[in-house]
């Protein structure tokens, strides 16, 4: 007890926040996996998982146990260091953005004044993990997947940053808490609809989800960069992907959908998290619907769309925003 009281309170706060966030990441992955399979089923007019628990609700728990219990195979010719490093590199940086996201007025691990920049830099490490994994696998399909991931990430990072920039021009801050605070009266999605659309499209591309899932296109590259991974290595990539989706949806909520703002609740400064999560999961539901609606784009279509449509439109949007703000 004495040791705890001598520790600086900020450290204890961070440790508690990290523990909650890591457990939430696993919970989120389980929920998202279940939702994904259920929605996929109903879109195709099937039932989806039904066997384990009520309406298959424990299916992903069982799958998780199976994945953890599986042997982690390391093929002979792989680059062992890179091969083992990649899943860790994919999983670790996705925890960090959640530390600066304001879930409600008082539920935030750390209010960085450069919060948005921090999130952007951390989420771009994910593509590094894909490149390391694809290169380390020493396999042509994995390599192709990794190359595609890099090209795609470079192309879509620009519109995502430009659409964020439009919001920053209006709020004049990079702190996520202050950006949400500025949306007390009106959500930015109404003032910046174009930036919102650009952000959602590039966000889906950033997280390598269908219809932009070229790095892991099953029908072309077997599984792309994670072809050679089994067991826990694969599950870390999987966790990383779902947490990245959550981060993208959270940032969209913070920037455009008014964060924790909603009809007032008792203990509003804490229970604002309810509105925050409702908005985030609505966006995630939308992303899942998109995955099960559209076919995968071809690679030239993917890059054409980013450079010919998203980048010019976001530049025009910034120009207009800057002029309006200046006036």
């Amino acid at each position: 007890m004495e040791t705890i009281s001598t520790l600086p309170p900020e450290l204890i706060r961070m440790v508690i926040a990290v523990i909650i966030i890591i457990s939430f990441i696993f919970l989120n992955a389980i929920m998202m996996g279940y939702l994904e399979r259920k929605i996929a089923g109903h879109v195709q007019r099937r039932l989806g998982p039904m066997e384990v628990g009520f309406h298959g609700i424990l299916q992903l728990v069982v799958d998780g146990v199976k994945l953890v219990a599986k042997e982690l195979l390391i093929p002979i010719n792989v680059d062992r260091t890179f091969f083992r490093l990649a899943p860790i590199l994919s999983f670790t940086p996705v925890i960090l953005p959640l530390l600066v996201i304001p879930f409600s007025e008082k539920l935030q691990a750390r209010d960085l004044n450069l919060g948005l920049l921090f999130i952007v830099s951390m989420t771009s490490v994910n593509v590094m993990a894909i490149l390391v994994g694809g290169w380390g696998s020493n396999n042509k399909y994995s390599m192709f997947g990794a190359m595609r991931a890099v090209a795609q990430s470079i192309a879509y990072e620009i519109p995502i940053l430009l659409s964020m920039l439009a919001i920053i021009l209006m709020t004049n801050t990079l702190s996520l808490k202050e950006i949400v605070g500025a949306q007390q009266k009106i959500w930015f999605v109404l003032l910046q609809p174009l930036a919102f659309i650009i952000y959602v499209i590039s966000g889906i591309a950033e997280t390598n989800r269908a219809p932009f899932d070229l790095p892991e296109a099953e029908s072309e590259l077997t599984a792309g960069f994670h072809t050679e991974y089994s067991g826990i290595g694969f599950s870390l990539f999987f966790l990383g992907e779902y947490t990245n989706m959550f981060t993208v949806a959270s940032v969209a909520t913070v920037l455009f959908l008014g964060g924790w703002h909603g009809p007032s609740l008792p203990y509003g400064e804490y229970l604002g998290i309810v509105w925050f999560f409702l908005k985030v999961y609505f966006l995630l539901f939308f992303m899942i619907m998109i995955r099960w609606t559209y076919p995968r784009v071809r690679f030239d279509q993917l890059l054409n769309f980013a450079w010919k449509y998203l980048v010019p439109f976001s530049l025009v949007n910034i120009l207009i925003t800057a002029v309006v703000v200046k006036l």
Binding site: H42, R46, L47, Y309
Partner: protein
């Protein structure tokens, strides 16, 4: 330039159309069957192995043990024996055995029967570890249905 915006408009509209289709499908009733728990009715034209028809009036079989089916069977998988019963002039059916491992489900026996005593059953869950499990005693199957 006109083409650029036209592409954007047409593409955007097709994306919205696609989402409308899947969103509708999301709320429509499912069309699949949870097989071991639910089963759908077998089509009336389904040909399972043959069975004796249960005559609702006499509450027994219509077979007169004439042996037409046995003779007409191209793969000789039917075996019939008649037996004498005290007080009756004609023979009645004593044994109706079917070797289903040889049967090709041609249906000649059903067609040739003078009393329409044979029909196709709707049995399709047929799997076993031994050949002998498919040597059916059709008469016994009928007696089980009489009660």
């Amino acid at each position: 330039m006109k083409r650029y915006f036209l592409d954007l408009f047409i593409g955007g509209k097709s994306l919205v159309d696609g989402l409308v289709v899947t969103t509708k499908a999301l709320f429509q009733p499912i069309v699949t069957v949870q097989y071991p728990r639910e089963e759908i009715d077998i089509t009336p034209n389904f040909r399972g192995h043959i069975d004796l028809v249960l005559d609702p009036e006499k509450n027994t079989f219509r077979c007169i043990a004439c042996g037409m089916c046995q003779r007409s069977c191209p793969s000789e998988c039917i075996q019939i024996e008649g037996k004498k019963v005290e007080g009756k002039k004609k023979k009645t059916l004593g044994l109706f055995a079917l070797d289903f491992t040889k049967c090709s489900l041609c249906g000649t026996c059903v067609e040739v029967c003078p009393t329409q005593a044979l029909e196709f059953s709707k049995e399709y869950n047929l799997a076993d570890f031994s050949k002998e499990a498919f040597h059916y005693d059709i008469l016994k199957r009928l007696e089980e249905r009489i009660i």
